[in-house]
């Protein structure tokens, strides 16, 4: 008998229930602030999802997912900022005037156009991921070395954005004064509209990611995780596969970055801070990086706990989280989803037939450290 955890119909059924549950939340909540907070959890869920794809399925530990998130967030903030400016009378955002700029920098010009601005917000990080990924993967940088490179790259972007204060407002970041307008319609961050926008994005990204893992591409990416060397001799260009999965995961993080700014009307270098990118890894790790939905739930649980318990524990919160992460990595390499897998396996009476990766676990732990 096989473990129901591995049954595809059962998995899709869980997705259905999960999204149905998320769909009724706005019916029960009339507190606009709470709904807004829940929407931001959806954004964090997308980030955890992106890491499950890249790290869980592809075996590529990415400690710099904040690059895609942050660059896209800046793109979106610039778009929303320019919506508040007037080409005739008031073409320069106030913070630039305070930094004594007397004209709009050239790379801000395209953001007058909302469609183009959002497009660029997604395109720029994607192009960066393609370039950075193909350089790294073609020279066969992998494992911890790749993780360190992403970290270095994240810090480089952080410093750059901080340094060019007149163009980015440095450490203060950009605070667009108005909510995003699309087609003359306002996406009020404190309304169910924005909740539904995030919900739809999370739903589509999750379905897309799930299909991706079930495709031939997804299988080969998992094969690369097991043994990249072997896969090369079967005729696959491993670097190409790695670049694609890394870039697709970055695209999901970019979408999350755009939505985050819609929800909070704010962006600063803090979104490209190392701690934030590492939190994403922790969400996916605790929830279960081999389970897309597990990773999303991991983000919900930890961010939820942080909002409610974080205030009480203040400085010790990070310590508690770190300790929890170490425990999970040590005893449950597949996270909470892995726990479910074990429990369902016991209930089904399955004698460890297919999946419990006794072999893989050693490697997984090493990757998680």
């Amino acid at each position: 008998m096989t473990n129901i955890y591995h049954s595809k119909p059962a998995q899709w059924a869980v997705y259905l229930v999960f999204f149905a549950a998320l769909g009724v939340i706005p019916l029960f909540i009339d507190d606009a602030f709470l709904l807004n907070q829940f929407s931001t959890y959806g954004v964090y869920g997308m980030l955890a999802l992106s890491l499950a794809l890249c790290w869980g399925f592809g075996g590529i530990l990415n400690l710099g997912q904040g690059i895609a998130f942050g660059l896209a967030a800046y793109g979106m903030a610039m778009t929303m900022q320019m919506q508040a400016q007037d080409p005739e009378n008031d073409p320069i955002p106030p913070f630039m005037l305070n930094n004594s700029l007397d004209h709009l920098p050239w790379f801000w010009e395209p953001f007058w156009n909302t469609g183009l601005g959002i497009f660029l917000a997604l395109l720029v990080p994607t192009l960066f991921y393609i370039a950075f990924g193909s350089i790294m993967f073609r020279s066969r940088v992998s494992g911890p070395f790749f993780a360190i490179m992403t970290l270095a790259m994240l810090s480089a972007w952080y410093t750059l954005i901080l340094d060019i204060q007149p163009y980015t407002n440095g450490v203060n970041g950009i605070t667009p004064p108005r909510a995003l307008q699309v087609f003359g319609f306002e996406i009020d961050p404190y309304s169910s509209t924005s909740y539904w926008v995030v919900y739809t994005a999370l739903l589509l990204c999750t379905i897309g990611a799930k299909l991706l893992t079930q495709s031939k591409f997804g299988l080969i990416v998992q094969a690369v995780r097991c043994d990249a060397e072997r896969v090369r001799f079967l005729g696959y260009n491993v670097a190409f596969y790695e670049t694609v999965i890394y870039t697709l995961s970055g695209l999901i993080a970019s979408i999350a970055g755009c939505l985050w700014v819609v929800l909070v009307q704010y962006v600063s270098p803090a979104q490209m801070d190392v701690t934030f990118s590492i939190s994403m890894v922790i969400w996916a790790g605790i929830g279960g990086r081999l389970s897309l939905i597990g990773a999303i739930i991991g983000a919900f649980l930890i961010q939820g706990a942080q909002s409610y318990l974080g205030d009480e524990f203040l400085n010790t919160w990070l310590l508690i989280l770190g300790g929890f992460f170490i425990i999970v990595v040590r005893f449950l390499p597949k996270g909470l989803a892995g726990l479910l897998e074990i429990v369902l396996g016991r209930i089904g009476g399955s004698p460890r037939s297919k999946s419990p990766d006794a072999v893989a676990d050693g490697k997984l732990v090493a990757a998680g450290e």
């Binding site: 097991c226 079967l234 005729g235 990766d357």
Partner: protein, 246 residues
Amino acid sequence: MGMLEIRDLNKSYDAIHIINGFSLDVTELTLCCLVGPNGAGKTTTMDLITGRQKPTSGQVLFYGDDITGLDEHEIARRGIGRKFQVPAVLKDLSVRENFQVAYSRTTNPLRNIFKFHSKGFERKLDEIGTLAGLNERLDTQAGLLSHGETQWLEIGMVLMQDPRLLLMDEPVAGMTEIEIEKTARIFNQLKKTHTLIVVEHDMGFVREIADVVTVMHMGSLLAQGTISQVESNPRVKEVYLGNEVH
């Protein structure tokens, strides 16, 4: 002219010469056994053919095309499949998934994103699963197979690729007598449609399958010919067969 021509191949690490002016012609639809003492450079030769290592000098021609220095996946796509000395299968994946990955008809990732079924795979799986005796084990995780089964899985994966030239590095190492006999039968069947280079220490097995035997010693060609020619060669007896136990 051979389907595979190795011309004056050299490989050295600093001052250590591992392959020394090695040349070899392999004729289409023959089975060539590559033998020689440990450290003779047999595996390194396979590495040089398949692009895992780049030669210091020399050329490898496949159907007249120079494939020296191409990437591993490009060489594989031209039709050279390889089984490794230490069996290399995808341990986390099931046997079926291993075969699915090896069925590499489309290799472009952007196309494979939209691929959920590979045409002709089921038929091929049935054929190779039967050949490899793994039909009952398709849903087993590859890491849990026995040593013999793992060898067979990897041989099956190479066949799944449908290469024109098969390189087998010690395919029967660790197999039982019965398994070895079965492998010999299958290799004899395969050489009617494929070209094979087999590295093997088991001379009994070599005797059953080889059309041509090539003996390597310290990175160069020591002797070449039919099994009886090679076995009666005094130089071969001295450096290789003399100290083999049968």
